[in-house]
């Protein structure tokens, strides 16, 4: 359904931008290959700066890779221009971590959900779009009362449900969810993860879940990729990889996750490595 082969992406390094002229490029993704099938869920884990959000955006061709190929539904989308991408955009959706800034504060939830359906002519009339929006809200566990509300009237968990509903509005084949539960507390997080599990059962959607939390990935995904500094260090089925991590970095990541198990030695295990200050200048 979706495949990335040896993707390399470089972005301008704003911290090194000279006063006049362009910022130098810095390579963020250094040869990433992955594939997701319809109905499958892939987790991507890594720390901040590992390139996982850049990978999410590149998969949807929000960035253009400098080399490698991206294939979506059998079509090479690596170098398509915006006009050629537009019909495909409906079928690949992204959900962002910050649900507040992802939703237009001046649109009601109803308008937010109806707009893409009207724009892509998936709804014949405003009325049909409104009904479809109500049905979407029901799918994500919100009542039709929310149609008339504005984003600021919603809690973080409710806004993230709206984000999921909007991603579902155009019947996508692929959804990339970038850290969508990391700002939420455990009880709300559990509800959203449960919702993602349910959606997986009900649809043949391909789901890519990006998270720094390995436990979150385990709940939703079948397979997992571990990224560090723009490279994949280890990949495999969740059950295997979490039980028998082979790469030392994966082991270190797993060890850092505080499982709800009492373990007085946990905090005194490894040596105290010092945190390094950023380079001068």
């Amino acid at each position: 359904m979706f495949e990335a082969r040896d993707i390399r992406v470089a972005l301008p390094d704003r911290s090194r931008k000279p006063l006049i002229g362009r910022a130098p490029l810095i390579e963020i993704l250094k040869g990433i290959s992955l594939s997701v099938e319809a109905g499958a869920a892939l987790g991507i884990v890594g720390e901040s700066g590992s390139g996982k959000s850049t990978l999410a955006r590149t998969m949807l061709r929000l960035y253009r890779p400098r080399s490698g190929t991206l294939t979506f539904d059998g079509r090479d989308i690596t170098d398509l221009d915006e006009a050629a991408l537009r019909p495909l955009r409906a079928r690949m959706q992204i959900i962002f971590q910050d649900s507040q800034s992802a939703l237009n504060p001046r649109l009601t939830i109803g308008a937010t959900l109806a707009e893409p359906m009207l724009s892509y002519r998936l709804a014949a009339s405003r009325r049909a779009a409104r009904d479809a929006a109500a049905a979407l809200l029901a799918r994500v566990g919100l009542s039709a009362d929310f149609l008339l509300r504005y984003p600021h009237q919603l809690s973080g968990g409710q806004r993230q449900r709206v984000g999921i509903a909007r991603a579902l509005a155009l019947n996508p084949a692929l959804i990339v969810a970038d850290e969508i539960v990391s700002g939420l507390d455990v009880s709300v997080q559990a509800q959203i993860l449960d919702l993602l599990r349910t959606l997986r059962r009900e649809t043949s959607l391909a789901l890519v879940l990006i998270s720094h939390d390995l436990s979150v990935v385990r709940v939703v995904c079948d397979t997992v990729l571990v990224m560090r500094q723009g490279e994949i260090v280890e990949a495999g089925p969740c059950a295997d990889l979490f039980a028998n991590p082979r790469h030392p970095y994966t082991r270190q990541l797993l060890r850092s996750v505080p499982l709800p198990v009492v373990d007085p030695g946990w905090l005194s295990g490894a040596s105290l490595e010092e945190e390094t200050a950023p380079p001068a200048g």
Binding site: E47, S48, D185, V186, S187, V188, Q189, A190, Q191, L193, D194, R197, H212, D213, L214, S215, V216, V217, R218, V219, V220, C238, A239, F242, A243, Q252, L253, L254, R255, S256, V257, P258, L259, P260, V261, V262, D263, W266, L267, S268, L272, E273, E274, E275, T276, A277, P278, A280
Partner: protein
């Protein structure tokens, strides 16, 4: 005598009750976890201790005893004298605790000169020593940087250094690692434990994450709808959660070492029942 003993604390914002009779005791040389979901009132407990309540909030009953003296009955001046010296606070976002336009070294020296009544030069030397104590390499250089030039983990180290500067009897830490990556969180938790053990302080650690409680805390209180529903030694709580809500919160915590199907969101029926119970008291 407990360092901190909260007795029957009730607090309301306008007509809305936020705390409905909180009892909590934190002992010397002990990390006490206060766990609950957003809206449970745990942050309000922290704010009541450090006298940082929102203007509309008022305490309607109860006592907050610090070393036996009721903080609520004290004058503002007497309470301020305790703050930073005998009682310190660590917040979730270290950036809001630091002044963005003053270099790290200068703001540390200001605070130290005020609290420790030493000269500016003495304070600067002390600041450098404290940064070294929180395992920051090259403290002299870090002191010349502004907060935005540091990573989140580094900033939190600076804040922890300041919080422990006067070897306080009590530290209130409100979600200090929630915004951090797991590996950075691990290092910050380890540092917090190390500093706590060195100073034998009492720490009230506010979090929504039972995993962090299991690894860091000695005692724990679980909060829901403005009440403590269960208090126990950490080993007992995780071995035998007595309250339904504690068990439900544990079941809603994702963990990478268990099959995905074991995650269960907190049942709405339980939440409704507990809310009704809370409203009756």
């Amino acid at each position: 005598m407990s360092v901190l003993a909260i007795e029957g604390l009730r607090l309301a914002i306008g007509e809305t009750p936020i705390l409905r009779g909180v009892d909590l005791a934190v002992e010397r040389n002990c990390v006490h976890g206060l766990v609950g979901e957003s809206g449970a009132g745990k942050t309000m407990v922290g704010k009541a201790i450090v006298n940082a309540l929102p203007e509309a909030a008022r305490i309607t009953a109860g006592a907050i005893r610090f070393d036996g003296r009721d903080l609520i009955a004290m004058t503002g001046r007497a309470r301020r004298r305790l703050m930073g010296r005998a009682i310190a606070m660590i917040l979730q976002n270290p950036m809001t605790a630091l002044n963005p336009v003053i270099r790290i070294g200068d703001q540390m020296a200001d605070i130290l000169a005020y609290h420790l009544e030493v000269s500016r030069r003495g304070a600067a030397a002390r600041a450098a020593a404290m940064l070294a104590a929180v395992h920051i390499r090259d403290p002299e250089r870090v002191m010349r940087l502004y907060p935005h030039e540091l990573s989140g983990g580094m900033c939190q180290r600076v804040v922890i250094a300041l919080a422990f500067a006067c070897e306080p009897r009590l530290i209130v830490a409100d979600e200090p690692t929630t915004a951090l990556d797991v590996t950075v969180q691990y290092r910050v938790l380890r540092l917090l434990k190390e500093m706590q053990a060195r100073t034998q302080s009492a720490v009230l650690f506010i979090t929504h994450d039972l995993g962090v409680v299991a690894k860091l805390c000695d005692e724990v209180s679980v909060m829901f709808a403005g009440r403590i529903v269960e208090s126990a030694a950490v080993a007992d709580l995780f071995a035998h959660p007595r309250h339904d809500y504690t068990a439900a919160l544990l079941a809603a915590t994702p963990r990478y070492d268990r099959p995905a199907s074991t995650l269960t969101p907190i049942p709405d029926a339980l939440r409704t029942r507990l809310l009704q119970e809370a409203e009756r008291v």
